[in-house]
Symmetry: D2
Subunit: 261 residues, 4 copies
């Protein structure tokens, strides 16, 4: 087994069959490369730029689809939670509860997610200094949870743009928990398309390779069989047929730098 | 009546008597200056940096205290809502439902707040371009609500710092709704004190005067009789005994520029 | 005399007659408003985005034109210097030597400008924290010069954008020297037009009023009778026929806040 | 020969013997690793924060020392030029003329450097978008020079901080010229020590590895046998005895990603 874990899937659950098919394609690739794989898709995009954007099937149906995918693929699943009221149901299905970046400072959401005992992946807010994730960690530890992941997904850089500060990876790893690099949200251009976010898919491979070289424990990527058809993050998801070559780079780079971890 | 409205009060409801007394002091000042006054205090600080920070009396007791203050002072009241489940109870007491900056993209919270028919004050996220507030407005209008306020409270500027881009005031006013300048959160230094935010109270008067000159409809200020004793935002709240002189400047400047509104 | 001083003129010396005529128009306006006036135009735009952009008449001819304008209008003149070799000639004509923002850290240029005994106006670099201007001041004081002006002209804010942090005005005034607000370069969009900078002229009045309310000693504005025809900064220069109304606002606001200086 | 070129040396020429000795140490390391090596040291630090900081031996003596080092080590040498008047003398000794970041928009300096026919390395200004380097390139091409290097050394990120946006590497490479990553200036904290810049040496290896993985042609590093004794950039220079291990990582990573160049 390669040590870098892959969290991947389409941004949002669209058609259940297509969603499962994407997960199956990723699983096959990860299997060939001996990379541990965790399936990700959102049951609800709760913070779309626009009211009329597609949000997904919702909590109940979405968790049911995720449970089906988990059983079919025999892989762990992760999804975003947005509200304390979703946690109990979500924790019955999900292996990892994910705190969206905008919500990383919401004490109750973080604490109650922690209380489930499930792994919790907190995305660092676009407005937060890397070192300030120590306070988020303290909320989870207060809940008795040390099964924590910290995700870099870009920092606010002027308007409608993000920048990845790769100093954040060693800073967050120094806090004692595994660090995830979210390669596809890091290239979002927030609000860049007027009524939705745009993105720069072309930079995903560069930032992924840079992140692995700087040292990460996991990669997070939104992947789709045909991203321009995707109902969310169409401009920044990775084509599934580009994934294997990129992961081969990841393994080669990680082999070169793993001794520093 | 002067046309600029003042939203003010302590950051969080502390002791009910002291909270009321602060409101009463502000009301007297606003009354002398003929400035319409809306009381503000939070019943719950839901996104403190640190788990162990003071959060306030909570929804039920807090709304009861706010109802009491509203009746005693005979002024409208505004407070933050953080979760859809709080909206029904909050709308029974509050005149304005306020969406915190970190939550300005949460579709359900914004939409359901809008559905109450109450005025909704949305704080622009530190991560959001001013023009992108048009999408937030669209969510409220979709809920049939045109009773909207838009608040500037600073934009992310590197780490642990905010900057107020005063272009945001005319940009947001061009969207067709009144614009509020939050003078005390705009001088926060997020995470600047390690386990809490710090602030630069000394710049509140400068930014307040600049905002009025650039053109705003309302001012939002957290005010305390002894800010260093405050249980939240101690470093950036304004001393109540500095308020009157500052508001006199506000009136004089607004008189000079009102014709441009 | 009103206490706020105006530095104004076209960005670059174009046709000498037209340049003089613009200065004459501004002088008349300033005279009517009893505002002290200093003429500004560049003899050389030494850092245009593009090689083929218009640069002006150059040092020798430019200084000659500036000397003529100074005599005709009977006003002090200021212009940018870019190189130590220009200082001697420039100091014979100019009343104020201006250090461009990109060059504010060039020790020899600053020091030698200081050694002339002329007033020196240093534009704060887009990359510099306001407090760091203390080190620039120290270089001038080392040269025996205390005739110093400090100019705010916006700070780098992501790519192709600037933001004015109005905290910089009180911070720089606390360093003991008069502070100038450059209202027209502050709305530049650097590189925003591909091979040249673009700009947002529409925000000049808002930022000017905000700056005066926050407290400044002088205003700097590039003004043209027909800015779109201007050979530099066409997108951000102010129309000369908009100047008088704006300066009336400036006086009214300054009257309201002058006691804080 | 490995394809990645190393530009390295102490920030500023201090004692000539020590400076040569540092170069010799680096040359031995580069030789063992079959990495082409170019010596770098500044003859004049022309933009120190503080007037009284050490600046180096100056143009004449400095070029003489660089000529000696070039002859002793039999390697090309590069150094900063700050003024058109330095170019002729500098071009007689230097193999690469380097344009400092603050000066990357000075048309005459760039153009006249280009006219020498020497290679010109332009450091991207901290205030410049990566794509805007196309305009700098156009100035050099106008001078008939296509022997161009483009260097990333961090972008302004709030106050007293820089961030490396690794999207800049593929963006600048797409402009058709080799790209250099300046690993040690990228971790400067400008003005971070009050009267001088501070730095974060501890992040140099992380950013170096990330840059190579993202794809660069050359690495630029300031290296010293005892950085805290260094007379400039003491906080961010690399210890020479850490260099070899880091370059071994560089080779391993570059081997893994070279096919993408």
């Amino acid at each position: 087994q390669n040590p870098i874990v892959l969290i991947a899937g389409p941004c949002v659950i669209e058609d259940p069959e297509r969603t499962l098919a994407i997960g199956r394609s990723i699983k096959e690739i990860a299997g060939r490369l001996q990379i541990p794989y965790i399936f990700k898709a959102s049951y609800d995009k709760a913070n779309r730029s626009s009211y009329n954007s597609f949000r997904g099937p919702g909590l109940k149906e979405g968790l049911s689809i995720l449970a089906h995918i988990k059983k079919e693929l025999q892989v762990p699943v992760v999804s975003d939670i947005h509200c304390v009221t979703q946690i109990e149901a979500a924790a019955e299905v999900l292996d990892i509860l994910q705190i969206p970046a905008f919500l990383c400072r919401q004490t109750d959401l973080v604490y109650e997610a922690g209380r489930t005992g499930k792994a919790v992946n907190v995305k660092k807010g676009q407005f937060l200094a890397p070192l300030d994730m120590k306070n988020v960690i303290a909320k989870l530890e207060e809940a008795g949870n040390r099964n924590i992941l910290l995700t870099e997904r870009g920092a606010t850089f002027g308007y409608n743009n993000l920048v990845v500060d790769f100093r954040s990876l060693p800073i967050m790893r120094s806090l004692g928990y595994p660090v995830v690099f979210d390669a596809t949200h890091s290239v979002q251009l927030p609000g860049g398309a007027g009524t939705s976010s745009s993105g720069q898919r072309e930079f995903v491979p560069y930032l992924t390779r840079a992140a692995v070289a700087a040292g990460v424990d996991m990669l997070f990527m939104e992947v789709h069989d045909n991203p321009p058809e995707g109902k969310s993050d169409a401009a920044n998801m990775l084509y599934v047929d580009k994934l294997e070559a990129l992961l081969q780079d990841v393994i080669a780079i990680d082999n070169a730098v793993r001794k520093h971890k």
